[in-house]
Symmetry: C2
Subunit: 192 residues, 2 copies
């Protein structure tokens, strides 16, 4: 049986991905103060030197991590089979209740007090926000040339973010389900 | 001219309030990691011993601070003259864009990773959340016996929280104004 050795480039990419996934998990569980390159390298089973080869600074690692996971989520969302609007709304809201949201939240809050992080996270957040909006419009079948539709979708994503925050300390799933069901009905009236 | 000396109890209350206000400002500006009893005492112009007399632990000081400012805000909101619904909605959303929201956000996020804080902040958040909901229902003239009205108001407050988060790193006022105007129209259709 032939042993297939992954080319160097593939191994390097796999190491990078392990680091990014470990970084998001670490940020979600320990927050910014508890998240260093060393802690992430250990969690990923990668040497500190290898980690620093991929990500020279802590800021590089964590902004790349949040971006990577956000992109994975966007792809998964885009790949959803065409569904009814209620299911789409639920999937959109779910984006804001998992470890990615927790990780991003820790990064935003740290960035609000740390100059080095602030510019990078602001730029990242704008990019991820635009992309999420585009996907939401597409999945909801919303026609943004109609007055008020753009702001309705934006408000929904703001609500989803607020629901994510409400879920930070306690399991808010039961209340969230009722709120989303009601706003789904209102959405249907606006979008037709 | 007679010098009026405040009774001891009044001075003590004034010291307590200075500490609470300094604690919220400190939390909003520096986050949890940068907020200690000593830093707050210095900012309030109070000795560390006096601060510890009022608040034996860091957790005591910061949860009391967020609660105190939340209560001040609730009173101010209740005292608003009866206004049209658009103005009420704007005032409610404004609650989530100032230093109190930033301070509370830092406290929530810290509590998600620190066991000592978690139970206290969860309890505080539930209390403040119920109170804000009550005030919103009252000011909006919402009849919660109608189906869907309760969830509509909850969703609005979730949206307001999400808008607060969107305002953390950049000034989001222009976008927020358009979103709130549109959701105000939707609200009007539900509440009649």
């Amino acid at each position: 049986m032939a042993v297939v050795t992954a080319p160097k480039q593939d191994r390097s990419r796999a190491t990078r991905q392990r680091l990014l996934q470990a970084a998001v998990a670490c940020l979600a569980e320990r927050g910014w103060a508890g998240s260093t390159v060393s802690v992430v390298a250990e969690r990923a089973g990668v040497s500190r030197g290898a980690a620093q080869h991929h990500f020279p600074t802590r800021e590089d690692l964590f902004t790349a991590a949040v971006e990577y996971v956000a992109e994975e989520r966007s792809s998964a969302l885009r790949a959803l089979p065409v569904q009814n609007r209620a299911a789409v709304l639920e999937a959109l809201v779910d984006l804001y209740t998992g470890p990615l949201f927790r990780a991003a939240l820790h990064l935003w809050v740290a960035a609000s007090n740390e100059e080095q992080l602030r510019a990078r996270v602001t730029e990242l957040e704008a990019r991820v926000g635009r992309e999420t909006h585009r996907i939401a419009v597409e999945l909801l079948g919303a026609d943004e040339s109609e007055p008020g539709v753009r702001e309705t979708v934006q408000g929904l994503l703001d609500m989803a973010r607020g629901l994510g925050l409400a879920n930070l300390l306690t399991d808010d799933a039961a209340r969230r389900k009722r709120v989303v069901a009601q706003w789904g009905r209102l959405l249907h009236e606006v979008l037709g």
